[in-house]
């Protein structure tokens, strides 16, 4: 019996060690390279300045090993993927703004005048004046929390807030959480400052729609972590259905469940001839200081 058992174990060990078959190569044509546009309406409640900020880049092969990220100064490291020298024109209602280029691939226009539900257009031309992409969206109105606060329970930080929704229309909401928003000597005329300010803000975002509201009201107690921060900035925005879907996909794509399942998520876009998303929404920022 001992011999039989020994033989079984040897066989299993042999089987287990030899049972990984050699992977087979396959060639798959890559998606064509396309320009990618991202936009953000940015408002600083301390400096009381606003800016509409664009990043313009290009897509790459799935076999490209580069992993672009932001360095400590707030710049996208891989400059090859950024498109510089472009001309970005934003039309907000009757006003037209020509964006300045800060760092390569980052474009901005200061102190733009937004009118609720105005049609907003963006047109991007390359260095020789040829249109490479364009898009249209709607400027969403600014909204506010009905109440918002910061609480600490056993060293756990929570933000609590209440939102009200008009049940007669369909709405989509974005709530952002930032950890830092201190006044300093920087200026938005310095493009490096914008990037620096953006990267200081580390937390997360949530998405809501009408089905999350009960009788037109949403109460949230959101866990933010245990870190030693004492100042939280919370912003709420009304966004379009399309941008809501884009952000939902972005959020789900990073989930562990999705990594396990390898579920296919194709990202929606409102960019003609390109990828990404053009949005003009107005975050209403509230600074919360933990008095404890």
């Amino acid at each position: 019996m001992k011999n039989i058992l020994y033989s079984l174990i040897v066989l299993l060990a042999f089987g287990a060690s030899s049972c990984t078959p050699e992977p087979i190569d396959i060639e798959i044509p890559q998606a064509p390279v396309k320009p990618v546009l991202a936009s953000q309406f940015y408002y600083d409640s301390i400096t009381e300045q606003n800016a509409i900020v664009f990043t313009l880049s290009k897509s790459m092969s799935a076999l490209d090993g580069r992993r672009p990220t932001i360095d400590s100064n707030g710049f996208i490291i891989d400059y090859d993927l950024l498109i510089g020298g472009a001309q970005i024109t934003v039309t907000l209602g009757n006003d037209e703004y020509i964006c300045q280029e800060g760092e390569k691939g980052m474009y901005y226009a200061f102190n733009v005048a937004l009118n609720n539900y105005n049609t907003c257009k963006v047109d991007v031309k390359d260095a020789v004046g040829k249109t490479i992409l364009n898009s249209t969206t709607v400027a969403m109105p600014e909204i506010s929390f009905s109440s918002v606060g910061l609480i600490t329970e056993q060293q756990n930080k929570y933000v609590t807030y209440t939102l009200h929704d008009n049940p007669s229309e369909q709405n989509w909401y974005l709530v952002n959480y930032f950890t830092k928003q201190k006044q300093d000597s920087g200026s938005y005329s310095d493009p490096k400052y914008i990037a620096k300010r953006l990267t200081e803000q580390k937390l997360d975002f949530d998405l809501y729609t009408d089905t999350d509201f009960k009788n037109g009201t949403l109460h949230v107690k959101r866990y933010l972590g245990q870190s030693g921060f004492d100042t939280i900035a919370v912003a709420v925005s009304s966004i379009t259905n399309g941008y809501y879907n884009f952000l939902s996909a972005q959020k789900k794509y990073g989930l562990l469940v999705n990594q396990i399942k390898g579920e296919v998520i194709n990202f929606p876009t409102n960019i003609n001839n390109g990828l990404g998303y053009f949005t003009v929404h107005q975050p209403k920022l509230t600074i919360l200081v933990d008095e404890d």
Partner: protein, 748 residues
């Protein structure tokens, strides 16, 4: 009276005389050694070509001319010859034939062949086939049939005639089985020690079955030996089985208990690896003869897959446990009516599939429960009117209760995991059905039926008539043509991701928004059969409507509100299947080939464009060789080839700031859905069976085998892999290479 009228009168009297001279026989056929009822046994009068087969409970009835001889014949048993006398309540005991090879020849002459689209599964063949890790598996044997596609390598997923994995109605003693797999799909839940017989329909559906679009697999558990106490079992590398059966109540009843447990976790521990995962299952059945005409069966199945893992090295308290399994109970009552022309079966059952996952990290605890529980009955009356006409009618009802996802959280969690106090949802599914089998003449016969099915959910009811028709035309003794049409309606569905099926994928029912799935299956076939050679070709066309898939980007552990995450669309499948079985002395050769197409079209997926189904494999070819070196040594080999399945790979990526505009996410660009065909797969599996001397009380068999003998990759997905120079390439990954196995089976 003129001559013409005289002739008519003469013919009438003659036919009446012929009718009066016929006698009615009925009875049951059992295994002489065990007393168990035998289904599908042929009762046949050769010269006048009159015949029938026993039903699932071994009962038959037939009109044949008095004093004519008739056969009772069954594969692997000695054929018995009888003289027809007016005889009811016959009890025919068939003894196992020692020399099976000769028996097959007799069987081929007299046994009724399965109709178009139906297969009687030969469990002896299942037992002799090569298998992954040496574990014999009913469903993996079925995957070698034409029209049945495999899922990923080594798994028990069945995709029949272009359908999805949830479109197969799997019944165990008439109760539905929701998850037919163990260990992430690599083993089926059917313990071959506990199975008596199995029948599969892939087309030409009879009206007594419904509720799924693509196939019906009906598995009957062993009733237990009525003659003597018997033990059987096996010891293998991955699992062991043990079964006991014997008589009860002075021969009026019998019992069966069969258990199985895997010990892959223990074996891995012995070689210093960790796989904290195992499964077990238990089948039990009891039957009791209430009276000469009444029989009662009680059966149960319970089985679980268990995961218990903890991170002992971590300073934090991290534990993960899960348990998922099926629990099935049935009570069946068979009755033969006094006129011997009617036979009824009533089954009351419960079927429960549930999973439980618990994750703990320090004081944070997450628990997810999901459950589908059925309570139902099934009633069927078989009515033999005469040799030309018989009916089956009946009804069934199932009350489904779902708890899709009940999530409880204690502590602090990321907002992506939300507590969900999901309340149970109910669905009532019912059907009435009637089928008439009519032999129009010596060549042409028809089985026509109608099934009226219904489902009722909160706020909405669905009613669907499902007509069924099967025509058989015998061109000659050896050649036959068939034609069938079936409308199938499915009220339950399983939502799986587009890439991987997981045991945690959940069953849901139709809602006021999600409509029932439908399929219309048209098939035609040609069959040629001689003593040692059977060949059949079938072709089918199957349009499908209201198929259900996840809305893109809706993948979750499970969704409690299915209306939010599911989309519906259509599908189309068509193909041609060929199966050939030929005996050359001691060699038995079976080949099966399928050429097929399967597509889907959803308005909300793939930009509304048509796409191929995930397992749309154009060609599928299997060849099974079985050779008897002697009565003690048998060899079998299975070579299978299949066109690659479909995949949706990543073909690009782009940078996008995250929702806070504070960092960069790298987002994917995919091909259109299932646009890339994986490389073709092929492999050779072999198995050698060595038995001890025949006739001994203690019967033993050694099974020595190998899976994927030449270690060929069976691609199931594509991943990008980093090369040593930092560049990336695409690789197609396989699951299992060469795996040797050894097992020991015994019976006494």
């Amino acid at each position: 009276m003129d001559m013409k009228k005289f002739k008519l009168l003469f013919l009438f009297c003659l036919s009446a005389t012929l009718t009066w001279s016929q006698t009615f026989i009925s009875g049951n056929v059992t295994d002489a050694a065990t007393g168990e009822a035998l289904a599908g046994v042929s009762v046949y009068q050769a010269s006048k070509k009159l015949g029938t087969t026993t039903n699932a409970y071994g009962f038959f009835s037939l009109n044949i001319p008095e004093n004519d001889t008739f056969y009772v014949s069954y594969l692997g048993y000695q054929t018995q010859l009888f003289v027809a006398q007016k005889q009811k309540d016959m009890l025919v005991k068939l003894a196992v034939k020692a020399d099976l090879l000769k028996e097959v020849a007799i069987k081929a002459q007299v046994q009724k062949k399965p109709p178009l689209g139906t297969q009687y599964i030969d469990l002896k063949m299942v037992n002799s086939l090569p298998a992954l890790g040496g574990e014999r598996d009913l469903i993996k044997a079925l995957q070698n049939m034409p029209g049945v596609k495999k899922g990923a390598d080594g798994t028990v997923g069945m995709l029949v005639r272009g359908g999805a994995a949830d479109q197969n109605l799997i019944l165990m003693d008439d109760a539905p089985v929701y998850n037919s797999a163990h260990l992430l799909g690599f083993f089926s839940l059917f313990n071959t020690d506990a199975i008596k017989d199995a029948t599969m329909q892939t087309g030409g559906f009879t009206a007594n079955y419904g509720g799924r679009l693509s196939s019906v697999l009906s598995v009957t558990m062993n009733e237990g030996n009525k003659q003597k106490l018997q033990y059987s079992g096996s010891v293998g590398l991955l699992a062991s089985r043990l079964a006991a059966q014997g008589p009860l109540f002075k021969g009026k009843g019998s019992f069966l208990v069969a258990g199985r447990i895997s010990y892959l976790n223990k074996m891995y521990q012995m070689i210093g690896k960790e796989l904290p995962f195992y499964f077990y299952d238990l089948n039990a059945k009891l039957n009791y003869q209430l009276s000469k005409r009444d029989q009662l069966f009680v059966s149960m199945y319970t089985g679980d897959d268990v995961l218990e893992a903890s991170d002992a090295d971590s300073a934090r308290n991290i534990k993960v446990s899960s348990r998922l399994g099926n629990h099935i109970n049935t009570i069946r009552w068979n009755r033969r009516f006094a006129n011997q022309k009617m036979f009824s079966n009533v089954t009351v059952f419960t079927s429960n599939y549930r999973y439980f996952i618990k994750g703990e990290m320090d004081d944070n605890v997450m628990q997810i429960n999901a459950n589908i529980a059925d309570l139902g009955y099934r009633f069927q009356l078989d009515h033999h009117v005469n040799n030309k006409l018989s009916f089956k009618y009946g009804s069934e009802y199932i009350h489904h209760t779902f708890i899709p996802n009940n999530t409880k959280l204690k502590g602090n969690f990321n907002e992506n995991i939300k507590a969900n106090d999901a309340t149970s949802k109910q669905l009532n599914e019912s059907a009435i059905f009637a089928t008439a089998s009519y032999k129009m003449n010596a060549r042409l016969s028809a089985v026509a039926g109608i099934r009226l099915s219904a489902a009722q959910v909160s706020g909405r009811s669905y009613i669907n008539p499902e007509p069924r028709l099967l025509l058989n035309y015998d061109l000659t003794e050896k050649h036959a043509l068939s034609l069938s049409y079936s409308k199938m309606v499915q009220y339950m569905f399983l939502l799986s991701g587009s890439s991987v099926m997981l045991p945690t994928d959940l069953w849901y029912g139709v809602t006021h928004k999600i409509k029932p799935q439908e399929a219309h299956i048209i098939s035609a076939g040609y069959k040629w059969q001689t003593t040692n050679h059977t060949s059949r070709i079938e072709t089918y066309y199957k349009p499908m409507h209201n198929l259900v898939e996840y809305k893109e980007g809706s993948v979750e552990l499970g969704a409690s509100n299915i209306d939010d995450v599911a989309v519906q669309g259509n599908g189309e499948a068509y193909g041609i299947e060929w199966m050939n079985t030929k005996k050359f002395g001691k060699l038995n050769l079976t080949t099966a080939y399928t050429l097929s197409w399967s597509t889907r079209k959803f308005n909300d997926l793939n930009e509304g464009k048509q796409f191929y189904a995930r397992f749309d494999r154009r060609h599928d070819f299997n060849i099974i060789l079985q050779y008897d070196f002697s009565k003690r040594v048998q060899f079998s080999a299975l070579w299978s080839y299949a066109t690659g399945s479909r995949f949706t790979p990543l073909v690009g990526q782009f940078m996008m700031p995250n929702g806070n505009f504070t960092n960069i996410d790298l987002l994917p660009i995919y091909t259109s859905r299932n646009a890339v065909k994986l490389s073709d797969s092929h492999k050779l599996d072999v198995n050698l069976v060595i038995k001890n001397k025949p006739g001994k009380k203690y019967q033993a068999e050694w099974h020595i085998g190998a899976y994927n003998l030449y270690n060929q990759t069976q691609p199931y997905r594509i991943k990008t892999q980093k090369n040593s120079d930092g560049s990336y390439t695409y690789k197609q990954m396989g699951l299992f290479g060469f795996i040797p196995s050894i097992g020991y089976q015994f019976k006494f």
